[in-house]
Structures are given as structure tokens and as C-alpha cells.
Amino acid sequence: MRQFLRKAVDIRRGEGKRIAMMAGYSFVIIASYDILKPMTRSLFVSNLGAAQLPWLYMLVALVVGIFVLFYIKFSSNVPLDRLIFWTTLFLAGNLLFFRWLLNSNINSPVLYYVLFIWASIYGVLTTTQFWLLANYLFNAREAKRLFPLLTASAILGGIMGGYFTRLLATEIGTPNLAFICIGFLGISLLLMKLAWRERDPFLETGRSTQKPAETSQSFKKVGEVFLAIRKSKHIALIMAVVGITFMVVQITEFQFITYASEKNPNTDDLTGFLGFWLSNLSIFALFFQVGFATTIIRRFGVGVTILFLPFALLLASVWVFSSYGFIAILGLKFGDRGFRHSINRVGTELLYLPIPPHLKKDTKAFIDMFVDRFARGLAGLILLISFSWIGLSVAQISLVSIGLIIVWVVISFATYREYVNSFRQAIAKRQIDPDLLAGGLNDEATINSLIISLGSRNERQIVYALDLLETVEDVDLIPPIKPLLQHSSPEVRFHTLQLMRRRAETSLLADAELLLFDEDENVQREAVRFYAEFTKDSITKSLKKWLNDENLGLRGATLFCLAQSPDLSKKLLSHELIQSFLKGGKESRRHAAGALGVIKDETYFGYLLKLLDDPETSVKIQAIKSAGKIRAKNFVPILIQSMEYRDYRKVSGQALGSYGVSIIETLASTQTDESVPIQIRTRIPRVLSLIGGQEAVDVLLEMLPQKNETLRYQIIKALNKLRTRFPELKFDKRVDQALVDELNTYFRILATLHLTKENPGENDKKFNLLERVLQERLDDHLDRIFRLLGLQYPPRDIYNAYAATTSENRSIRANAVEFLDNILSNDLKRILLPIVEELPTEQVLQKADGLIDISFSDRKKALESLIQENDPLLSASAIYEIGKNGLVEEFRPLINDALKQKNPLVQETANLVLKQSV
């Protein structure tokens, strides 16, 4: 059975528990929702009548839309498990409360409105949180294989929920169904906790906050989505298709419920009727999805797929209009329920494929959250006008549907044409992310485009097409991919082998064998892996032979391959084998270092520790990469030390970044330790920016009051990166303080520069070098001021404003000032605007006087202050200019003090000036 299941749904080692818990979870939450849906609908219609439904649809659209906005805002920083736990408890509590209200004979219409709207929120919350958790627990490739299983179990849950409703509504009464929902919610909590335990501990960093935040970010970008819609005909058409789909669906839902309420005046009967038929239709949806959907998509492509639902609804609407009755109405619901959640959903998802990933995320979120609700609300308005005001009958309302469906079909044709164009362009621009092709590619025209791309002269194009073809099923790819095994590009050969392995193309085993001796290391590794997975001969014997082969590359690839496979490791991996590689030359040691990166057994960590000290750069770099994969604590000190050296700086930073939040404290203490070389300390903010998350931000903010300007700059830069990557992160008051400090220093330097330039009666004195250094310092501070502003205001806007303020074009500068005037707070505006406006320095300083502390008023004091400055270059420049202008006697005591300074630049300059004065 297990083997059959594995084969059918491709569950791999280590995924079993997770997928079982999540499938159970999806089953119970959808079951509970499909109990609630008929329950709330029947209570509403039985007590208030179907005529109230249009008002309700508009209210639901409005309230749920607003709720979603607030929910996203408040939930984005709560860890996902806690969010689900408390939401579920809250919903269960609500259910108990509603059950009590329903039993208290409160027959207020408000109760039924609230109950219906609440049930809609329940549906949004439970399903959104389920998919958030699923996205957290499964990576993109796992999702591609396993999410259809979760969808199937959700449909099964829907069926079960419907039948429960049918069976129990008349037995225990509609209000008591709330207890069944509470029971399902309790089971869902248990399953969620069990699934949560199965998460990969290495993926802990920030992921719980990232996913909801992505959605939250989407709403901050509503403007950008509108811009994208205006620019992209394809996106605009998708929006129109989705919008019109929901309008028609809402109208058919109204017709179905109204008919059902006419035939079932008793609440419990109506609940049972709705539950029973919704379940039956779900069975059809499941049957159709499993049996026909893939074949239809494969055979007829996206164009026909997206027309299934409108045509089915068109036929059913004509039927309802011409002979209104049970069968016709059922046919209408049959079209909606049967096709919308199966073939139409897949078709619509495929329409998003050619949209660039960053735009797709925002557009999809916008359409799912707002277009859906707006369209349903609009449908409510149409029903209000046609049913309640004009007085059309339920059957006549079909005319409205028919009109809308005709528009829908026309738009669908246009959308498909645009889809094909966009897809061709997206392949050429490599805009489709293969990891996001969760539904797989099935459209024939699309597959043909990809196969044609395999003959491209551009190797990146070929690699890209190979990655996309991985999702294609039931197509013989051997003829187009076989010649690629001899392609001149190692990258193409590697990706071809990878595709062959993932598709289990065993007939190409002999061709793969030739690549065992390929000149490229990655190709050799992939060839060994392919051979090891699919050969029918004794693989142990082959691997043993290859481990002693004279080709070092093959020996290394074999070691890597067996280290990677738990089964082969058990048989062949040994300390003696690793030691034999370590005894070899640098290439041999490099291979060992690579393989040690995939061995999670702690007894082998010592070898990697040794290789992290290897005198050969290539070996050490490989060892650092492997340490980043293993992420053992004892590698951390040596990785930090490695950042001192240029050759290892970048790779060590990346390796440390992969450790995540667990090393933040170590990094913080290293950064503040002044005995640590500055080369290391300046790299740490960058590592923190790679780690990400609120913890990294907090540590960086803590480091911000930093005297060393280079370090401060690196800290601010790291914060900027985090702000751009994770806009949901919080940057507290410490940024304001840093901003005030920067502005203070800016005005102090500006005053000094002004005093050195403007010397009435001493015009012969020139301070060229000092002025240049001061000007450069001003530029640095202005850069940091804007970077800090970028932590509080939208970074892109602030960057554009900064670039504009430094522009040579006057009108661009004026626009930047105008922009800043509009967005900055009043306090900040008063201080900052004079700097970016083209005001004379005296006026700038006058405006700052009182706001900022500028403590000196004449040139002598300014120069004295510069000599004592904690900035060696400024200090040395001031001393040099004093010497050049013959002012040594005036400042002799301070210059003598400078001789004792530790900094050689200051000491050397003071010495020079004193000698020259003699």
C-alpha cells in the first residue's frame, strides 16, 4: 500500500509524516467549512428570505475586504504556529458563542447577517493559514509534487463535511452542527502541532514571518499593481476574466440557494439539502479532476481549459431560463462546483505563468483578495437591481448571467491570445521561475515552444527550457534532450542529466555513462548520481571501482555521490576513505572538502575543521562552503576569522549567513570587540543582512552608535538591505537618534568648512586639502542621512530623492526638494531641507542654529577642534594646512600633542609640519 501510494503521489523519504498530517489538516478544516457553509446559508435564507441575499453579498465583500487588510497588518509579525493556534481557538470560541445565541431564541436579522459574514471570514482565515503553513513546511519542489495531494484531501474533506451536514442536520438540528465544527477545529490544532514538529529546523530563520509578510507587502504595492495592470494587457485581461467569473458564480449561487429555500422551507431540511448536493458535486469535481482534467489540459491546452466553466454555465443558464426546475438548477450548480475548483482553477493558474515572478506574486494577491470580493459585491448589486428592484424571477436572472458569460467568453479568447504571446516573450526573457510551476506544464503549444528553445544557440536559454521541462508529464523528451548530452556547455550537460534523473529516463543510461569521465566536476557528479539511481548492475561494485579510478574527477564525484546518499553512505563511506582523499594532493583534498559538506555525521566534522585550515586556497574555499552547508557551531570561529582575508571574505560571509539567527549573538559580540581586526568587523553587518529577520535588525540597531565611520556606514548599509528585502521589519527610535547624530555632525562639519573658506582679512590663507576632505565628509554624512531616512520612508523614493539632490540639473533638484517637503515630518523638514535646497551656507547654518548644537564660532576654534578630531585624515589635513599657511605657532601645543597620537598619519604629518616650521 505504502509503495502504491509512493508511486501514485511520489512521496519521498522524510516527507511521509508531514504530508499525512497536512493532508489530515486540510481534510478537517475544509470539512468544517463545508458544514458551516450550508448551515449559515440555510439559517440566513430560512429566517430572512432569499431577497436579502444581494445585500448580504455586498456586505460580505466590504467587511471581508476590510477584515483581510487588518488581519494582514496585525498578523504579519506573529510566528505562524502561534497565529494558527490562537486563531483556531478564537474561531472555536466564536462558534460556541453563536451556538449559544442561536439557542437563546434571539431572532434578530443582525444575528444571521453576522453569522453569514463571520462564516466567510472563517473560510478565508482557515484556508489562508493552512496554505501558509503548507508553504512553510514544503519547499517549492516538494510543493510541486505534494500539493495536488493536499488539494485532493481538501476536496474529500468538503465531501465528508457535506454528507455530515446531510446526515446530522435533521437529527441534531442545524445550530448543533457548530459542535461538529468545533470538534474538527480541535483535530486540526492537533494535526497542525504534529506537522509543525516535522519542520526542517534549518529553515527556521524568518520563514514564519516571511510568508505572511510577502502578502502584506503586496498590499503596500497596490499602486504598483495598478501600474502593472495598465502596462500589461495580459494582467488586465486575467483580472477581467477572474472578476467576471466571480460575478457569474455569485449569481448562480444566488439562484441555487433561492431555489433550494423555495423547496425546503424548514431550516434543517435546507441545511441537509445544501450539504448533500454540495458533497455530490464535490465528488464529481474530484472525479473530473483526477480522471479528465489533466488529459483535457494536455490535449486541448489552456485555451480550451479556461472555456469549460463559462460554456458549462452558459448551457445551464439557458436551461434554467427555458425550463426552470430542480434538474436545471442542479445543472447550474453542477457547472460551477464541478469545473470551477478543478479544470478552471488549473487553467486560470496557468494564465499567470508568463508574468514575471515578482509581479505575479503581487498581482495574484491583489486578485485573490480584492478582485474576488469586488466582483462578488458587484454581483450583489446586480442582483439587487434585477431581482429586488426590477423584479426578475430566479429563472429570468439567467439572462443577466448569459450576457455576462458572453462577455466572459470573448475576454477568454483575447486572454488566451495574449497568454501565448506573453509566454513566448517570457521564455525568451527567462521570466518564469521553474520552482513556481507547481501545477506543471501541460499545454501543448507551451511545451512545443520549450522544445524549440532546446535548439537555441544561447546556452542559458537551453538550461532554462530544461528546467521548465521538468514539470512536463507524458511527453517523450528523449529525442530532443539526448543530443544535449554532447553539448559543448557543461552547464547544459549537467542540466540535461538532472532532467533525465528527475524524469527517470533509464533508457539513456549508456549515454550517461560516457559522462562519467566528463571534464566538468558537476557533470561527473550528476552522471554518477544518475547511474547510481538507475543502473540494474551492482552499484556498490561500480562505485568501489570508480573510487580507485585513475581519473581523480571520477573518484571525487563518486565520493560526493555516496556521501549524499544515506543508503550508499551506510555501505561504502568510512573514515579510511575520507583519510585516503585527505592524504592526496590539493585536488583530492578539495574533493574531500566538497563531499564533507553533505555528510551530516558529526564524527566526520573534524576533517572539515582540518580542511578549513588548509594552506591551499581552493581547498579552504570548498571547506568553507561545506561548513556553511553543515552549519555546526564549532566551525563558526574559524569562519569568522576567515573573513579577515580577501580570498575567503565573501564565501565565509555567505557560509555564516546560512547559519541563521543561531549565531547572531556571536556575531554581535565579535563586531563590538575592538581587538578583532577591522576587516572582520566591517563584514559582520553584511552577514547579519544575509541572515535577515527582526533579530538581525535589532542587533544592527544596537551597533549603530558607532564612532568608526566605516563601521557605521556598513551597519547602515546592512540595515538598508534588510529594509529593502523585508519591508515588514521594524526600525525603532534608535534610527531617529542616529539621524540626529548624523545631522549634528553634518552641521558641525559644514560650519567648519564655512569658517575655513570665509576668512575676512585673511584671504591669502588657502586650505585646499582640508576643504576637500571636509566636503567629502559632508557627502558621506549626507549619504548616511538619506540611508537612515530610507529606513523610515519608502527606500526607493528616498534613493531617488537623494540621487536627484546630487543632480546637476536644477529642476530635478527642485523636484526632490518638493518631494521631501511632502513626505518628511515637520521637525526633520526644518533641519534637512535647508541642506538640499540651494541656500547659501550662512543661511543653512542659521536655520540649523538652535536645532543643532554648533559649538564654535571662529576659524581658530574650528581648526583646534579638527586637530583633536577622532578622524585621522581630517586631523592630519588640518595640521598640514596649518603648517602650509605658517600658523604653526598658533597651534603648537596641539600639534605637539598630535605627535603622541597612535595613528601614523597624524603623527607623521605633525612631525613634518614641526620640522618645516623650524
Binding site: 586639502l769 576637500r772 576632505v773 592630519a876 598640514y880
Partner: protein
């Protein structure tokens, strides 16, 4: 021996370093080497590999090819600038006309410096872009 700050003053006048910040000029100053050449000594010859930039501190250097004089560089003048950017052979011979003190920046040290101070590379690119733009505007 010149101090760092004096070297900075000299380096800031070299065309290619015009956009480099003073702080970074101090870093460049740190990799310079002061060398004295006797009269008639060749600093380099035609077809030698070009590996350094020179700045005359004191004395004179004659640049010539096939017996023909190309130019004479005096104090605070630099020559062999492009040696920092490509490794094409020298197109002229540089000969000291009198006892000459020069500041030498070797390409290898300069590239090491660039990898640690990306701002210098940015400034060089700015400087090159400015030259190209002015060239384009001229034609």
C-alpha cells in the same frame, strides 16, 4: 622620504585620480614606492611589460621611441598611467635625464588595493566615463 599627506597632495593632481577621494588617495599613497634613477638610466624600455605608473617627484624623464622624443616629464607629472589598466607592452622608453626621484605604483599592488577599496574603482570608472563623455561631446 615623502609623508603620506605629501604624496596625497601629489597624487590628487594625476588626471586618472581626479575623482578619487582624499581618504582613498591616502591608501594609494601607502602602496607607492620612492625610487631614485641615475642620469641616463632607463626606467623601462619599449616592449617591456607595462606594470607600473610613475610620478616624477624631482628631476626629469624623457619618453622616446626609435630615437624620437615623445615628451619630457618634470616634477609632479605622471607617465605610464595606462599601465594600471592593461598589460600591453610599453610603446616608449623612459630615460632619466638627470638624477630623478619618482613615485612608482605597481599594477599588482594597485589591483590588490582595488579589491579592498571598491570606492577607488568607482572613482576610476567615473573618471573614465567623464573622459569618454568629453571625447564624445568633442566629436
Amino acid at each position: 622620504m615623502y609623508t603620506t599627506i605629501e604624496k596625497v597632495i601629489l597624487l590628487q593632481d594625476i588626471e586618472v585620480f581626479k575623482e578619487v577621494r582624499v581618504e582613498d588617495l591616502a591608501h594609494i599613497a601607502a602602496i607607492t614606492e620612492e625610487i631614485t634613477f641615475q642620469p641616463q638610466a632607463n626606467l623601462y624600455e619599449v616592449n617591456d611589460s607595462a606594470d607600473s605608473l610613475y610620478l616624477v617627484l624631482d628631476g626629469k624623464v624623457r619618453l622616446h621611441r626609435n630615437g624620437q622624443e615623445i615628451s619630457i616629464s618634470g616634477p609632479q607629472e605622471a607617465f605610464g598611467t595606462w599601465a594600471l589598466f592593461d598589460n600591453q607592452p610599453r610603446v616608449a622608453t623612459a630615460t632619466a635625464l638627470e638624477e630623478t626621484l619618482v613615485l612608482k605604483i605597481s599594477r599588482e599592488d594597485f589591483y590588490d588595493l582595488l579589491s579592498d577599496h571598491v570606492r577607488i574603482a568607482e572613482a576610476l570608472l567615473r573618471s573614465l566615463a567623464r573622459s569618454l563623455r568629453s571625447l564624445a561631446e568633442r566629436f
